[in-house]
Symmetry: D2
Subunit: 132 residues, 4 copies
């Protein structure tokens, strides 16, 4: 059992779904990778061509941060908020992935970041599909 | 001219709309008030009856934080992300306001927080309506 | 009475000091202005010369965000943490102000941001001096 | 090689130290575990006895979040800020760990959170010791 699953199993609320655990993990992974990719873009010689990438990475980090924290909380959850936020997070990840994929051939950090964003986009989609 | 309007007028992108300026201000006001209300709830004798309120205040602070930062950025914006995030933010503010209003008669901080959340909800709605 | 003073006066903990209220306001103002300045830098033609400025603005926004939230909370505070965090926040604001001042003549957003950082630096110093 | 090490190896700045990689990982682990522990505390029957724990978990999450992001950035770093922030982060983790340890026998989430905070405290100490 991974760490987030073990952690949430200690909550009075009881065992979370696998889709929820996965989405929390992917949101926080996206915070780290998008923060790092924006910063690596900034150090590149062609920083002028990476403005859109930096912008989307910063936004994606902020949205995944909020989503990861809201999903982590289990006390007295509001499914209407969760659903709406997951849709915004999925959108942020998709847009950031599409942009990073444009630079993946030249910048390894963009390749890594795009993969992380795609995993988070999929984890959001899976959680949206699984929620009743 | 207020501070956020003055600030954004210095951006190479040019002058922002009044609806955007207002929404940025209300998002950051919501971060402060929701953070404070969750903390004041925690110090109350009837904290057991305020769990839902604390939870929604923490969520609303996180969502408004992300939304305020994304809206503040003007470089290479993505309207699809802005719109989706505004919908999540409007939802977070409405849910938090509805809950704080239940406690407003007994807890002055809930009355203040509810008013701030309602203003942010309205500012999100106005910005959604104004965006082309 | 301004909004943060009014807000904290509703807390069971009672009336906060003027130095605390001022520092909370300046921390959150710094979050907005540093987020905006980093983004405006990114849109400038001379973005390559503004890398250090963008980096320091992003850091300053993050540190002021954490400091503003910790200072806003009044329930069961830990003066040792407050003090240590104020020292880090003062440092972040000073470094960001020094860098933005280098660009203030050419970029109006750097001038505005530098002033905000200096006010926050001073507010942190005042709160550190006033705390017993 | 773990993910953060692999990620930072793609940065133009070059390979980061093992102490830095470890500290970034522990900061973000602390964000998740402290967010979750504060929320689990809130759902417990004895929430009134867990106010200090909730407060310290919220603070620790905010400080680790800022520290994790500042440490992740490698472009044009300021060692004076890093050092000051690491000291605040170490303090936040130690205070949170001490409090969670008081509840570890009764609440499994406090036991898990205390362990995570102690690892982050140690990682901050190691990075402070290794930095020239």
């Amino acid at each position: 059992m991974n760490h987030v699953a073990e952690l949430l199993a200690t909550h009075p609320q009881g065992t979370p779904s696998e889709a929820l655990v996965r989405c929390i993990e992917e949101c926080f992974a996206c915070v780290v990778d998008c923060t790092s990719c924006a910063d690596a873009d900034l150090a590149e010689e062609d920083v002028q061509d990476l403005r859109h990438c930096i912008r989307l990475c910063l936004d994606c980090a902020d949205v995944c941060d909020a989503t990861g924290k809201v999903l982590t909380r289990q006390t007295s959850s509001e499914p209407r908020l969760t659903r709406s936020l997951l849709e915004a997070c999925l959108r942020a990840c998709r847009l950031c992935a599409e942009e990073c994929e444009q630079h993946a051939a030249h910048h390894e950090h963009c390749r890594v970041c795009a993969e992380t964003c795609r995993r988070c986009e999929q984890a959001c989609a899976n959680l949206l599909a699984s929620a009743t």
